[in-house]
Amino acid sequence: MDVCAPYVARARKAGQFVIVSPDEERGERIPLTIVDGDEQKGTIRLIFQRVGKTTSQLAEMSAGDCLGYVAGPLGKPTHVERFGVAVCVGGGIGVAPLLPITKALKEAGNTVIAILGARTKELLILEEEFRQLSDELIVVTDDGSYGRKGVVTEPLAEVCRRERKPDFVMAIGPAIMMKFCCETTRPFGIRTQVSLNTIMVDGTGMCGGCRVEVGGKTQFVCVDGPEFDGHQVNFDLMMKRLAAYKDLEQKAYEAYRQHRCRIGLDRSSNP
């Protein structure tokens, strides 16, 4: 969705996120990475997947509706430089936040190899944008319905074994995917950056709910990140923390869906 947020549109840099809430009074605050923006129009683009109540509420909004609020841009911008060969790996909805970073890496003069993964063809997003941006694009799907069949770590490993070894890898996607991307690049000693999307409340450093262990030290994703050296991140801990409210979230989502069905508003739209 495109959101009118002129200040954010003006200040945002690749890699930063916003906190949004569909409802000022009762809504939950969730972090979403800014995918793109138009400073002239004062808008930012957010891409998200419907996974629970809050994202469903967002998905069901129509053009012209108002969000409860948007706050940002938050987090440190991506550190972009001319590394040489940069590989951008995106999985699922992680492809969205990868776009502005890929763009910035390309603009900085890197040779960009993009590897995009999705469960199935219908869930692959932004393929065209990446095709235009990158020097080489590899698409994989879990079920083989499009591109190569398999997961992103396979082409990533192949690229790492090439004679011209990549100098930099950026991986964004589900925690498990980022973990294995890091395991893939580790033996090659290639610097690998990941962007973490943990549970947050304020997004400004105040609650510490987003904390992760990086290199044995506690770091806050919202102010110290969201990007970290993937080889230092303790993904196992992070994945456990991501599941902290799974049951409650599930319940809220069920209740919401039942309510929507009863009043006949459910427009099972796929984002």
Binding site: Y7, V8, A11, Q16, I19, S21, D23, E24, R26, G27, E28, R29, K53, T54, G68, Y69, V70, A71, G72, P73, L74, V201, D202, T204, G205, M206, C207, G208, G209, R211, V212, E213, T218, F220, V223, N234, L237, K240, R241, A243, A244, Y245, L248, E249, K251, A252, A255
Partner: protein
């Protein structure tokens, strides 16, 4: 005016005739604050202390000796003429009492509730000294609250000063920011408050729970500011949305007050702190207060752990708030683990008392060594170590010394870390030229002026952890500094 008792009538007559001697005043029993029954209130969010009745307030006011040297005023960070407002309460002139307070403190309904009076005004009270018991001092805080609650509705909105055409940015809408905004607005400037959260009020809305400070009170104070013409912009993170430099160079602000607080929670750095079910007190209280997680599924969408057994680490007011909140969220057992003894606890006596009454189990001279988890990464217990008190340390408090081999395990599914906060690094990272000390707090002079021209700061981001009233005091000093600075700037502008 409501009915007052015969006893009070007689006392008032003597008082007016100048015949109420100190010994008569000492003989008036300290008025107990009516409170919700602990067995009931631990299951609801309503305010615990219900406030004095008129009879009680006037009776309590008559306990004041009206000391010529007013030692209580010395103990007040903003020097409210306590004696004078208490005299008005005794006479039933509550509006007048409130006006006197408002000349010095903008938030009496808040301060009357959350100020640590027992270490400020009431510590110096002659009546308390006479009984060698600070709890028997005149209840200045409760009287302040009474005046605010009773006469607050009718209170006039302070007027903005004659327009200067100058612009002031106030960063943060906590108690310091509110005072700085009001005072600079009274100075005639165009004032904008920038708040990072979606609701203004700072620690008064995200931190201090409803049962100790009803949010309606804070909302009213914010509305007063708006009526004065102060603009409040929420969801605006100075340092990210705009930097201080941009506010001053591009957006035309002539002066800035930084009152962002110290909101970065500290952790213990022990094993298991990343487990699911471990919260900073900030997160726990923010979810519960600001995001209303206690209404999850009914009026709010932010979840919070459904805890059975909760261990809170720390001994300050925030630890008490977290422990008492956990009870209200349905925990069966709440432990408060503190490594010194009760005497060293930084929390207010009243908060400790309330927590105990509600059933929080105090585990003193104990400290967590590690948090234990199961295979799903959820908290299942806390391994603690027993301590004893040794020699006094640099803070003057006796140093807790661990007793070797004294480890034991407390069963718990939630752990809340309430050991204080540090400064947020955001402004330091994004404001070149602004001087910070080595702990990350902003350096200011006695007028709350920072190293950058036109930029002032106060409250927790300067003092470390302070109180509402200290933050307000600094907001006032800074506002006076800003008003003077802007007047000088106008003079220079006119002379040029």
């Amino acid at each position: 005016m409501s009915e007052i008792s015969q006893t009070l009538k007689e006392l008032l007559e003597k008082h007016r005739a100048g015949q109420l001697k100190p010994k008569d005043r000492f003989a008036i029993p300290p008025q107990e604050m009516p409170e919700q029954d602990p067995a009931v209130r631990r299951f609801n969010m309503n305010e615990v202390a219900l406030g004095y009745t008129e009879e009680q307030a006037r009776m309590e006011a008559l306990r004041c000796l009206h000391c010529p040297n007013a030692p209580c005023v010395e103990g007040c960070p903003v020097r409210i003429p306590i004696r004078d407002f208490i005299r008005e309460i005794a006479e039933g002139r509550y509006q007048k009492a409130l006006e006197i307070i408002k000349g010095y403190s903008l938030l009496p309904a808040v301060c009357g509730r959350v100020c640590p009076q027992e270490v400020q005004c009431q510590e110096k009270c002659t009546v308390g000294l006479r009984f060698k018991d600070v709890m028997k001092s005149v209840s200045i805080g409760r009287l302040e609250r009474f005046a605010a609650d009773r006469a607050g509705e009718a209170a006039a909105v302070p007027e903005a000063g004659e327009s200067t055409g100058q612009k002031v940015a106030v960063i943060g809408s906590g108690p310091g920011g509110i005072v700085a905004a009001a005072d600079t607005r009274r100075g005639g400037h165009e004032v904008t408050i920038f708040e990072a959260f979606h609701k203004p009020g700072g620690v008064m809305v995200y931190g201090i729970p409803e049962f100790r400070l009803p949010k309606a009170i804070v909302r009213k104070e914010i509305e007063t500011l708006e009526k004065m013409g102060v603009r409040i912009v929420c969801n605006f993170i100075v340092g990210r949305t705009r930097t201080i430099e941009q506010l001053m160079k591009e957006d035309g602000f002539d002066a800035v007050y930084i009152g962002v607080g110290a909101g970065l929670p500290k952790f213990l750095g022990i094993e298991g702190e990343h487990l699911v079910g471990v919260y900073s007190a900030n997160e726990y209280l923010t979810r519960a207060n600001l995001m209303k997680a206690y209404q999850f599924g009914e009026g709010a969408d932010t979840p919070i752990a459904l805890s059975r057994r909760v261990a809170v680490f720390g001994g300050g007011n925030v630890a008490m708030d977290a422990a008492r909140m956990a009870l209200r969220l349905g925990a069966e057992k709440v432990y408060l683990i503190y490594r010194r003894s009760e005497k060293e606890m930084p929390a207010r006596v009243e908060e400790v008392h309330h927590a105990k009454e509600e059933g929080v189990e105090f585990r003193l001279l104990q400290s967590p060594k590690r948090i234990l988890g199961n295979e799903r990464g959820q908290v299942v217990g806390v391994e603690c170590l027993r301590y004893e008190l040794g020699e006094p340390d640099e803070s003057g408090r006796r140093r807790p010394v661990p007793i070797a081999g004294s480890e034991f395990v407390l069963e718990a599914d939630t752990a809340i870390v309430a050991i204080g906060n540090g400064p947020n690094p955001l402004l330091q990272q994004t404001t070149p030229g602004l001087k910070f000390n080595r702990w990350g707090y902003i350096e200011v002079d006695e007028n709350c002026r920072t190293s950058l021209e036109g930029v002032y700061a106060g409250g927790d981001i300067v003092l470390g952890s302070a109180t509402v009233i200290l933050a307000m005091g600094q907001g006032r000093i800074a506002a006076a500094g800003i008003n003077a600075y802007l007047a000088e700037k106008r003079r220079r502008g006119a002379g040029a």
